[in-house]
Amino acid sequence: MPRYAMVIDLQRCVGCGACSIACRNENNVPEGIYWSNKITETVGTFPNVRYHYIPTLCNHCAAAPCVRGCPTRAMHKLDNGITMHDPNKCIGCKYCEFNCPYGVIYFNWEKPHRFWRSEEAAIPGGTASPKELMEKVGGQATPYFNPERTGTAATVRPKGIVEKCTFCDHRVAKKQLPYCVEACPANARIFGDLMDPNSEVSILVGKFRPFRLREELGTEPHIFYIRDYNPARYRATKGGV
């Protein structure tokens, strides 16, 4: 059985956010919920200051606190290592959200994509209401709705349950890469099977000293970060006293 993981090469990452926006697109994720997200930091004082960007997503932990805490087993591990969510079993208790140390689980407090149910038009008779446009275009929940986000997690999740990144399990099942990996223009996201010693991810976690987020908590995250966002060089110096 494979054990899927992702390597994120911070040297290649340019901080553009295409991964996160593309994920919204692929998974019909509603506003306010970020399956793919980031941590940004501005470090230093002018002029010795730099901006850093770390892309984040569900870490698909091998020892996932969200799975351990779920009362209904809605949150569960697949055999391939993906931390998966079954919306049929979710009772919306949010225990997983509280237990997750990474803040990657979100609760649907309202029916998603409220924007597209509005009946107001900016110029009556001249522009459309979102509802009217939806009726014309079709789609479910949004006009650019992706029907291929199906199979396990719902194509769009209803009010009252949580949702999070599923490593695009619906794509992986078709032997396609997660969409964020495809969408990254910098080839900064590398997906693969850690059980295969010849996979790119296996090679990269051996070649570099990767760090993982909050490793000390023992969650065994499967998102490995390599290299540095700011690859600047400087002239050799011994400093001074």
């Binding site: 090469d9 040297q11 340019v14 901080g15 553009c16 956010g17 295409a18 926006i21 593309a22 919204r24 692929e26 980031k38 940004t40 501005t42 230093g44 002018f46 002029p47 200051v49 730099r50 901006y51 850093h52 960007y53 209904t72 809605a74 079954d86 049929n88 079993k89 979710c90 009772i91 029916k111 900016a122 110029i123 008779g125 459309a128 979102p130 009217e132 275009v137 789609g139 479910q140 929940a141 949004t142 006009p143 650019y144 992706n146 291929e148 199906t150 199979g151 719902a154 999740r157 209803p158 099942a173 078709k174 969408a183 223009p185 910098a186 080839n187 900064a188 700011n230 690859p231 600047a232």
Partner: protein, 860 residues
């Protein structure tokens, strides 16, 4: 829509038999199912979705169709994923050798644009005769027929009264189908007034490359082979040009080359560079002069490209003049004059004072840049050049490429590869007397007047002065405009001092706006026409270059155009031409009919044919094997249409050495080309070059006018009253000015370093903020001598003290219900152009946006 495979019967069985279900879910499902069964309508969509879980994932449901994204001017070749007539995804077209499969983030926002409910569905006419910022047009829907009849009547009226020159065409976002609406239609009607937006883009960038190496266009850079990139006011990881490509290779380049970014604020690119030079706005020319000085004094110029001293000894010594006779130049002209007139005293010590940069950094950057030899790039962006004296900044920043021999060389700065698209047929035979007469009148934008030399490409009066057209219209100078058509532009948002455009547009008696959304410009229109979206609904093509290649990438309708949208550049002119022919003026229609389908020889019978044939006609050399000239080969139109993109041959390095489009054919440090252009313009106005430069606002006099040199910035506002310099910059999510209505824009706005989601922030250094008593989150008003805007304060270390950095793109008060706080009334955020004065770099006609003004900030 996906097929609904579950019947209520199956679902109930599943629910009853599946022991893994939770009690709550069971209750919820059966209740709904029971009700649904009673009504016979099945499950609600939410529960349908749940019921489908467990179903095996199927194959791909749709297909990828090629088109092109014009979110910025990278003009990437893309593919759109279409499922049952719905566009649902966008990605890079791997067939392009320019961008490959890479796609920057803004491309995805196009989905929210094409399906924007705030798009105009139908033609509309204004019913409120009053025009003003606070006048609701009270648009009502009308038919295309009524709209076109009205437009045709107005044009015929001009013809009848011999006032065809009072017709104005304003162009915004275009494809190369633009010649139909922008050029042919305007000329056939009989007007000289086709005004493009180019002057508010980055025309001044081209000034340096033209007057040194004879190339008036944007450049591409051989980044894969370079050892040093010196980037001036450009942010290739965020905005223009070829963001997708540069994002895809940056991770590799940073390992091989040293990257230095000259920019007052910490940009996305500066964050991934070795050196950030946080220069004082407007002083880029000083830094470039000092770097040039260092390169020459340290003997780091290219012997191969520039030449050498006959005796071998380097006579470039600080403060000392050099005898030109001692230097033998090869592929350049005037290096010694350049030294004598400008560089000899421009030491790094002097530059440190003027630029506010540390001396050691200037010397280090200059030296390391020189060590890279010809594998170095001086990358000139909009920053240093879209300023009042920007033309010369463009020259001196770009000429570094000449000093190192990087021009047209491996690892250096390159031009566009050859491509073979054709032009539309000549329309001269269709110009009647009225048209010929009208087209010869003076233009509304004052280009070519004494104080607007606009010497683009060496020709005086050839550059558009977009922003000046507002003054021309307002003052009826040289005459009033009566009928205007504009497409995909928004000049009273995208131009500086936009209030002038509000007033000018109010004066035009009949204004038509072809647009996707009702924007600020639309609010002053008499007729709105719904436009197609360039990525999903339009026939066209554009070209771009990067990675040593040029590509020509087409746009095609991948979905049926929404509502009643029609293509701005081809369909609308055809429809107008039909109406004009019905009224006895058929020259335009007869001309359009000469653009036949190259495959069948058929004449276009309607606007849809016309739009398609225009693309087939002008791209024939690319797809027709009988007309093949180079680059990718296709076996016909259909293969080309499916591929979506044609790639050129690889870059021919060094072919242009001593074969440049300059007067001397060489890379000119002493620009005979510029001298000729300035002298021609001076002669036209019976005066001297010095006089021209004085009225145009430049400091150079005499010979210095013909060489790259430092000019002090011209900035409005007294330092005491207006303590901070205003720094404008662009967003990696801007789709020109049109993406603020996308929720994804607002949700992800903080991908611009220092910015915040769902907000429009002005970034202030904490030192300045403390002095002003401001903290992050405060609502503030930014005021300049010419205007004001309101936004939110954000304290950020990535800002040079003494400046305030704010991103362009928000501040819409129309456009849509997300972009505006209250549609038609209140803006969300503030438009940078409100505080920037309407000044120009008059040698190129460019509208200034950098180092233009100081501002003051107060809490509100």
């Amino acid at each position: 829509m996906e097929k609904e495979k579950n019947t209520p019967q199956n679902t109930i069985s599943d629910l009853l038999n599946d022991l893994k279900l939770s009690r709550r879910c069971f209750v919820k499902a059966t209740a709904a199912t029971g009700a649904a069964l009673a009504l016979g309508t099945g499950l609600t969509p939410d529960l349908k979705a749940l019921a489908q879980t467990g179903k095996a994932a199927g194959g791909d449901m749709g297909q990828w169709i090629a088109s092109t994204c014009q979110g910025c001017t990278s003009w990437c070749s893309k593919e759109v994923y279409v499922v049952n007539g719905r566009a649902i995804k966008v990605h890079g077209n791997k067939r392009s050798k320019v961008n490959g499969g890479a796609s920057c983030p803004r491309a995805h926002l196009a989905l929210q644009q094409v399906y924007d409910p705030d798009r105009i569905k139908t033609p509309m006419k204004r019913t409120n005769p009053k025009k003003g910022r606070n006048e609701d047009p009270k648009f009502v829907a009308i038919s295309w027929d009524e709209a076109l009849n009205t437009i045709a009547d107005k044009i015929m009226e001009l013809r009848k009264n011999n006032e065809t020159h009072k017709y104005l065409l304003m162009r915004g976002r275009y494809t190369y189908m633009r010649d139909i609406i922008y050029d042919a239609m305007t000329k056939l009607i009989g007007s000289p007034n086709n005004i493009s937006h180019s002057a508010i883009c980055a025309e001044a960038e081209k000034f340096g490359p033209f007057y040194t190496e004879g190339y008036w266009d944007y450049r591409q850079y051989d980044v894969l082979n370079t050892k040093y990139m010196l980037i001036w006011g450009a942010d290739p990881l965020a905005a223009n040009r070829q963001v997708s490509y540069y994002s895809s290779v940056w991770g590799d380049i940073v390992g091989k080359a040293t990257i230095a970014v000259v920019e007052p604020r910490l940009s996305a690119t500066a964050s991934k560079a070795d050196e950030w030079l946080p220069i004082k706005p407007g002083q880029d020319g000083a830094l470039a002069a000092a770097i040039s000085h260092v390169l020459l004094t340290k003997g780091m110029w290219s012997r191969e490209f520039v030449g050498d001293f006959q005796e071998g000894k380097n006579l470039f010594v600080a403060g000392q003049e050099v005898d030109p006779e001692t230097f033998e130049e090869k592929h350049t002209n005037g290096i010694v004059k350049f030294w004598n007139l400008e560089l000899k005293d421009k030491t790094p010590e002097w530059a440190a004072k003027v630029t506010g940069l540390p001396l050691d950094q200037i010397v280090r950057v200059a030296t390391d840049y020189g060590k890279a030899g010809s594998q170095s790039i001086s990358w000139v962006g909009g920053g240093p050049v879209m300023q009042v004296r920007g033309a010369y900044a463009s020259m001196i920043c770009h000429c570094l490429n000449g000093i190192t021999g990087a021009c047209d060389n491996m690892g250096g700065t390159l031009v566009n590869n050859k491509e073979y698209t054709g032009k539309f047929p000549n329309w001269d035979d269709f110009l009647d007397e009225a048209a010929k007469k009208g087209s010869k009148m003076a233009k509304i934008d004052h280009r070519g007047r004494k104080d607007f030399p606009c010497i683009n490409g060496g020709k005086p009066g050839s550059a558009v002065v977009t922003n000046r057209a507002a003054d021309g219209i307002l003052n009826a100078d040289p005459y009033d405009i009566k009928v205007a058509i504009a497409y995909m532009n928004n000049f009273n948002f995208s131009c500086t001092q936009p209030e002038r455009w509000n007033q000018a547009l109010s004066k035009i008696p009949f204004l038509v706006h072809i647009t996707t959304n009702a924007s600020e410009f639309s609010w002053f229109a008499d007729i709105l026409l719904p436009d197609t979206h360039h990525l999903f609904e339009k026939w066209g093509w554009v070209k771009s270059a990067a990675n040593g290649y040029r590509h020509v990438t087409i746009q095609q309708p991948v979905i049926k155009p929404m509502w009643e949208a029609k293509i701005d550049e081809t369909e609308v002119p055809w429809l107008i031409a039909e109406k004009l022919a019905q009224r006895g003026f058929d020259n335009m229609l007869r001309y359009f009919k000469t653009i036949k389908d190259p495959e069948t020889g058929k004449e276009p019978a309607n606007e849809k044919d016309f739009a398609l044939y225009c693309v087939k006609y002008t791209t024939q050399n690319l797809w027709d094997p009988a007309k093949y000239q180079g680059g990718d080969k296709f076996n016909g139109w259909e293969e080309f249409r499916k591929a979506g993109v044609w790639n050129s041959a690889p870059y021919p390095f060094r072919k242009r050495w001593s074969a440049m489009n300059t007067k001397t054919k060489k890379f000119e440090f002493y620009s005979e080309t510029l001298k000729a252009a300035l002298e021609e313009h001076a002669k036209k106005h019976n005066t001297t070059v010095d006089d021209i430069l004085e009225v145009s606002g430049y400091q150079a006099r005499g010979e210095i006018a013909f060489i790259p040199h430092y000019e002090e910035p011209s900035t409005l506002g007294d330092e005491k009253e207006y303590p901070l310099l205003f720094v404008d910059h662009k967003s990696r999510l801007n789709r020109e000015g049109r993406s603020a209505n996308c929720t994804w824009y607002q949700e992800f706005k903080d991908v611009d370093p220092g910015d915040s989601v769902w907000d429009d922030v002005a970034k202030i250094n904490p030192l300045d903020a403390t002095k002003l008593g401001l903290k992050s989150g405060d609502k503030i008003r930014i005021t300049s001598p010419t205007g004001k805007l309101e936004c939110t304060a954000k304290l950020w270390e990535g800002v040079r003290p003494g400046t305030v950095a704010k991103c362009y793109g928000q501040g819409h008060w129309v456009y849509g219900r997300v972009a505006a706080k209250v549609f038609g009334k209140e803006p969300r955020g503030g438009n940078n152009n409100e505080v920037i004065p309407a000044v120009y770099d008059r040698l190129s006609g460019s509208t200034v946006r950098h180092a233009a003004t100081r501002v003051k900030i107060e809490k509100i």
